[in-house]
Homo-oligomer: 370 residues x 2
């Protein structure tokens, strides 16, 4: 088994260790998103020094540009982008759903046109595995259909059955020794469908399971309801991955449900839009109040940006649309997320995650109650 | 005197040392351009590790945004942007000429509207010095009028006389102890006007002199003719600065005329546009021939980008419009320029600059003969 559960906190939060071909990952873990063979605005050296342990690559983007064959010829994604640690790739399912043009779903796979140049592609479960193997990923994801929101029970069940079928085909198609493969639980916002899907996936030989199809436009309560009910039912001896979430408070909540792995574009994308996370809640750096503010973004932060630069300078860079703005903001936000995860691990390790959660909410203005 | 001439090569090339409030600079020197309190796409740590010794800031941009008062309140430009070494600022004259709206030149100064928001400003010689002193610059430049090209002899003389008058007013206005102030030779493309201007400036107490008003749309021959005739006439005991030039071959040429200081946006701007300098000449990284090219940009280069990344990866980042493309390309190009200057220094120091120049042209495809 590639996963070892090291500790379970009374609250349900878990501490674990996942072994991949490019090294071990401690869990809970946050995976910065490196869509197009780069975590936007930062280098792999910076990711390492921020303490990132694993990053995520997007199969959809990479198959379109530069193409997985190019990356394979150049020695695989790790070598191509100069990242020595583990890489998880999604299967492309979510981006086909959210970005591609003229999408047509067939039992064999999904036909679509590239949003970049209109070229036509046909992504099957077998192709999704073939591409991820060509990229040299450490953790591959099965091809799934991201169920639309809202969906009737019939639509959600049909979609979930298709995802299940594709998941089995991915498992069969997998050739590369060592590469881990995770299944994805779908079923929309119908708990019974989700449970059926989970049971079926749990009875097969996946290396981990993920909750997919969340954060697709539903109200936050619906997402929390599914996550908090399903996560604790997922096999305890395999890593549990909540795909595409979320805000710092989402991570704190979901760790309490027993989730082990997270990815989200929020720290990086919001950084480029001038939203910076602090221990007291997020701030918008463009605000006039920071015009002459000599303080760092967060006086409690030990990141290289907070050690050196003022809010006034970061506001100036943002307003002047300087590339350095995206760089420094991204470094700060990634540090915030990775530091949050480190604090969570320490809390679980000490058996005091419930206390940690209480403190977190006591200090942080959050965007919604939960 | 702040300048020491250490060595003169038989060719006319010079080796020197300029002392500023923030440290010594070896000359010849190349100054990366940090327009808006950042050299675009790179951090001050990266500039230091590339061996940059002095950077240039643009008074025009900084007075408009964030405003010199904000920077002064935050402890000056060095502290604001986290750059510990010397800074040279231009006076704003060139950008008023090239960027500002509704420009009106009066004997007292120049009235213009900001290209950012249309706000009206009045930049006088006294204001130009006041702003540069507020920024805390190490080397200030006098306010000058950048003579238009083409200009009649009468227009060029009138413009040169105005620049001379402003130069004297700047010298008078200067208050801050230690800050160096350079005069700027104008006179269009009329050698006699240039010589008159130079003589007049040379008789006053400037810490260095610059050739301005070049690279303003004239044919390269005209620029070279003025530069090669005027530079050797500039006072030998003061640093000679050729403003806004140029290509690597321009620097090699001008060092031979006895020029000591250079600045140019070419390495940084062209990097963002995908042009990369190599010891064999410049390349355009977007070209299809680099699609699967595993080699570094330049096999003779020791920069951190060439040590780690392939042309194929850099091409991909450029086509995907990734921020990392601008970062890595800028680091490579700045390294190329700074390394060129280091090689030039070694050659002058060994008394073999003429040989160096011959070798440089033997290996490098250049854009024009000279």
């Amino acid at each position: 088994m590639s996963f070892r559960l090291l500790k379970k906190d009374p609250s349900g939060a878990r501490l674990g260790e996942l072994t991949t071909p490019h090294g071990k990952i401690m869990t809970p873990v946050f995976m910065p998103v490196g869509t197009a063979a780069t975590v936007k605005a930062v280098t792999s050296e910076e990711l390492e020094s921020l303490g990132a342990e694993v990053i995520l690559g997007n199969t959809y983007h990479l198959m379109l540009r530069p193409g997985e064959k190019v990356i394979e010829k150049l020695g695989g994604l790790h070598k191509f982008m100069g990242w020595p640690g583990p890489i998880l790739t999604d299967s492309g399912g979510y981006q086909v759903f959210s970005l591609a043009l003229r999408r047509k779903i067939l039992p064999e796979g999904v036909r679509f046109q590239s949003h970049i140049d209109g070229d036509e592609y046909f992504l099957t479960p077998q192709r999704a595995i073939e591409i991820q193997e060509a990229l040299g990923t450490d953790i591959a994801m099965v091809l799934d259909e991201c169920t639309a929101y809202p969906a009737t029970p019939e639509e959600a069940e049909k979609s979930m059955r298709l995802s299940l079928q594709w998941a089995m085909q991915c498992l069969e198609a997998k050739k590369r020794e060592g590469m881990l493969l995770f299944g994805i639980v779908q079923g929309g916002f119908y708990p019974d469908l989700r449970k059926n899907c989970l049971e079926e996936l749990a009875s097969h030989n996946f290396d981990g399971l993920a909750l997919g199809g969340l954060s697709v436009g539903e109200p936050p309560e619906a997402c929390y309801a599914i996550g908090s009910e399903l996560a604790p039912m997922m096999p305890a001896d395999k890593p549990r991955y909540l795909m595409g979430m979320g805000l710092p408070e989402d991570i704190v909540e979901a760790v309490g449900w027993g989730v082990d792995m997270f990815d989200c574009v929020i720290p990086t994308r919001n950084a480029r839009n001038g939203q910076l996370f602090t221990t007291l809640g997020p701030i918008q750096i463009k605000h006039t109040e920071y015009r002459e503010d000599p303080r760092p973004i967060d006086e409690n932060c030990s990141c290289p940006v907070c050690k050196k630069y003022s809010r006034a300078y970061l506001r100036h860079l943002y307003l002047a649309k300087e590339i350095l703005s995206s760089r420094l903001n991204t470094i700060h936000n990634l540090h915030f997320y990775l530091e949050l995860i480190r604090k969570i691990r320490v809390a679980i390790s000490g058996g005091r995650f419930a206390e940690f959660k209480k403190e977190f909410y006591a200090h942080t203005r959050i965007r919604r109650d939960s």
